[in-house]
Symmetry: C2
Subunit: 142 residues, 2 copies
């Protein structure tokens, strides 16, 4: 999600991405959803928001540019497709591998993980993917 009242254009600019119309509508969509859409979903969502046709190649080009600039991250939750996550808040993911469900988790919840897991590694950031049952525990809702 986009922080405070920052404009999409300024987000792109601050990451060194030249703000073309195509990049603007794609970034705007990504920065204003809590979902983690695939490239195809991005294409569907932003098609028609420009006076000209939007090419599939442009969507992939833009997603790769945004990824390299650090505006979005790839999330691998299901085989055969890449999902995209706008990366402006500091958070991580739970992924239920049975369903592909992606759950956002604030970074501070996992900050002690490095010491718990293995002293051989420094943890700068972590994404957590469940492979077992991910069951909601009704008795301990926060």
């Amino acid at each position: 999600m986009i922080p405070n009242g920052q404009s999409v254009e300024s987000v792109l600019a601050s990451h060194g991405v030249k703000p073309t119309p195509q990049r603007m509508v794609i970034a705007e969509y990504l920065l204003n959803t809590l979902d983690h859409p695939t490239a195809e979903e991005v294409l569907d969502a932003v098609s028609g928001k420009l006076p000209v046709a939007l090419s599939r190649a442009t969507v992939y080009n833009t997603l790769n540019s945004l990824k390299e600039a650090g505006v979005v991250r790839e999330v691998l939750a299901e085989p055969g497709k890449v999902r995209y996550d706008a990366n402006l808040s500091n958070h991580h993911h739970f992924i239920d591998v049975k369903t592909g469900q992606i759950i956002d988790v604030p970074a501070e919840k996992v900050e002690k993980l490095g010491k718990l897991l293995d002293k051989k590694f420094k943890v700068h950031g972590v994404q957590v993917t469940f492979f077992g049952d991910l069951q909601q525990d009704e008795s301990e809702q926060t």
Copy 2:
């Protein structure tokens, strides 16, 4: 990896998978490597180990059967390809998303994760995917 002196055949049998020759050579390969090979790598590795040709479809069929039976897990470390992990020891993964490197982590190292992360969820098993730098900390080697 395969536990103690158990045979590949008995592993398949105990998981309810009928031990055909094709399944035997595929399972034997997976159970005796520490790598996390792709389907293509499995095909390359076991081709020629049978007197007959081994079809690509059979490799995919077998990997899916083994996955459903719980003998292997899928590991998503790089876009566009699925890796397979023989799942007979209780462990998890660190994945460096910059390089795709997969690092095995014994389960007991992450068993407290559920409480740390979020009380809403019971953690039955977890796979940990790094998205930041995964740097080896030389001063704290175990």
